[in-house]
């Protein structure tokens, strides 16, 4: 700092510590609840210090919610979404930046507009599409008379169906379209000097070789930044998996499992609410993305700021 300000420094520390306490308190209370027995959690004077029941509670919550396969599922879906988003963002932005063709800006805007309407807003019709991902084409063919034509010519009734409910594809596919990622990649590709492209062409590299051998190695920081934010985004998906997956035993994801843990009349049947297990499960579910954000902090912050601005 420029000048010595001992009093202000103390005030600064006090304010920041107060902020940290406010942020930590709810999770601390949840953590404490997860370390006590059922009786201790539900008795009147609240515990503020952890007890010794953390491990047994975690184990019981793990078994009760059948977290093993659900963690595997969540990991599969998150990886799928991350890989899918980065691949799509990269190749789309590449085609938009390094090729000349008419309608380039139109396509860019068509992708960019999708930012405006997040999944939550158009949830009902998107769900209907997931029940049959080919229904748009079916409707178009019916409306234009193509299916009638095919039916009269070949006698085959056109009935396209591709049900995405209760499948990894259904969980991943609607989430991989990415306006922010495409935008980030486009910004990066625009900074690539023309000389580099010319040099690559002089050496006889086609577009795909240029993409693979020059651009992708250059965009490693981009990939790290995008991967971090997209992983957190995918892991924390709630509404979409809640709807698409009815077969929770096979395809359930951990975050959705939380909706079953709310200790109300439904789950406890009027008994004592099992807060200690609910909180233990909450901790288990929230931990992986937190770890990622803390350890990948640099990339995470960069990704967040570059995609939204």
């Amino acid at each position: 700092m420029i000048e010595r300000t001992p009093l202000l420094n103390i005030a600064t520390h006090l304010i920041l510590i107060l902020g940290l306490v406010i942020i930590l308190v709810p999770i601390w209370l949840a953590f404490v609840a997860a370390t006590h027995t059922l009786q201790a959690v539900n008795s009147a004077p609240v515990e503020f210090w952890p007890g010794d029941q953390l491990w047994p509670n975690l184990k019981e919550a793990w078994v009760q919610s059948d977290f093993g396969p659900k963690f595997v599922n969540t990991l599969i879906v998150s990886t799928g979404v991350v890989v899918g988003k980065i691949t799509l963002a990269c190749i789309t932005a590449f085609a938009l930046v390094f090729f000349t063709f008419r309608g380039r800006m139109l396509i860019f805007w068509a992708i960019f507009i999708t930012l405006m309407l997040p999944l939550e807003v158009r949830i009902v019709p998107t769900y209907a599409v997931a029940a049959n991902a080919l229904s748009p084409f079916q409707t178009i063919m019916d409306a234009t008379g193509i299916s009638w034509l095919i039916a009269t010519l070949s006698g085959v009734e056109v009935a396209l169906e591709w049900n995405l409910l209760n499948s990894y594809t259904g969980l991943i596919l609607p989430l991989v379209a990415t306006a922010t990622g495409t935008f980030l990649y486009r910004q990066f590709f625009l900074t690539i000097p023309d000389e580099l492209v010319e040099a690559a062409r002089m050496d006889g590299a086609g577009p795909l070789r240029f993409l693979w051998d020059v651009l992708i190695p250059l965009s490693k920081t981009n990939i790290a930044a995008l991967a971090t934010i997209m992983f957190v985004y995918a892991w924390n998906q709630y509404l979409w998996p809640l709807l698409v997956i009815t077969d929770r035993a096979t395809y359930g994801m951990v975050v959705v499992q939380l909706s079953d843990l709310v200790p109300d009349q439904l789950t406890t049947g009027g008994g004592t609410p099992t807060w200690h297990l609910a909180m233990a499960a909450t901790l288990v579910v929230m931990l992986p993305p937190i770890v990622i954000v803390i350890f990948m902090q640099r990339w995470f912050v960069r990704g967040l700021i570059n995609t939204d601005k």
Partner: protein
């Protein structure tokens, strides 16, 4: 804009196709579908749609429950935005002084961003629980005074606090990045002119943050409309007496529990227009008017 390019070929088309196909199937088609449903009446058990014009909209707009939902959504949006941004701005300005422990403070404020909304809802349900959380203290002093499942204002307060808690990290990251991009020479010049740290905060840093401030304002309001589902679903379930029935939650409840696709579609269209209007304001006015650098 770029001189050296490849000629358009099947390669470019093949690279563009996957993303365009996905946004067509999962974005443009459903949006069009919502528009179609909003103007027709769909029989949930099949049997086709009949054109009803603006009937669905008039039905939605004359429904007192819908206006209740709009009211609480606006309250939630404004309250979470004000609390989260206020707290984020304060913390960012003081973290930016870069005293000892600056990195630890930064991590300590950023990590809540990674917590899933339903996990936040569930943790806060425990915190606010009248029987087991810290609020059981209040109930030992004044029995029955605090109960989320009985008193609407308490339920609204709970979701606002949970929502604000989740939003702080996001705004903090942006405020801090903006503060750190203020050139050091500017700070030093101000110090030479005799401006003490507090004076610099008020007269130099805050004005320079205006673009970030407006950007975050719009983003936070938009997010509170769309991201609130997880918190409401695990914290209050829309109750008591529909007091926390936020717009997204109502669309979900009407569409998937009430099977009223047309009503839900009409509500979706209204929400879409609202989000689009906010984004438009963001691009058209905020980005242009407020510009210092």
């Amino acid at each position: 804009m770029r001189r050296a390019c490849f000629k358009f070929s099947w390669i470019a088309a093949a690279l563009l196709a996957p993303q365009l196909l996905i946004i067509f199937i999962f974005f443009y088609w459903p949006s069009a579908q919502a528009l179609y449903w909003a103007f027709t009446l769909e029989q949930p058990w099949g049997g086709g749609n009949t054109w009803v014009g603006f009937d669905n909209f008039t039905k939605v707009l004359s429904d007192p429950y819908y206006w209740g939902s709009v009211r609480v959504s606006v309250i939630y949006a404004l309250a979470t935005t004000v609390i989260a941004m206020g707290m984020a701005l304060t913390l960012a300005i003081f973290v930016d002084r870069q005293l000892a422990g600056y990195r630890a403070y930064r991590v300590g404020i950023i990590w809540p961003y990674a917590v899933a909304a339903p996990a936040v809802g569930l943790a806060f349900q425990f915190v606010f629980n009248p029987g087991a959380g810290i609020f059981s203290y209040i109930n030992t002093i004044a029995p029955g005074w605090w109960d989320l499942s009985k008193y609407p204002w308490q339920a609204v307060t709970a979701i606002v606090i949970a929502g604000a808690w989740k939003q702080v990290a996001y705004s903090f990251i942006f405020f801090l990045a903006a503060l750190q991009s203020i050139p050091r020479s500017l700070t030093e010049a101000a110090a030479m002119d005799g401006a003490r740290p507090l004076r610099r905060m008020v007269d130099m840093q805050l004005p320079l943050l205006t673009p970030t401030f407006f950007f975050l304002l719009v983003i936070n309001i938009t997010d509170s409309f769309t991201d609130s589902f997880g918190i409401v679903d695990t914290l209050t379930g829309g109750g008591p007496f529909r007091a926390t029935d936020l717009m997204v939650y109502k669309i979900y409840a009407d569409g998937f529990r009430g099977f009223d696709y047309s009503g839900a579609a009409a509500q979706s269209i209204i929400l879409m227009l609202l989000v689009m209007a906010l984004t438009f304001v963001q691009f058209r006015y905020v980005e242009r008017r407020v510009h210092y650098t």
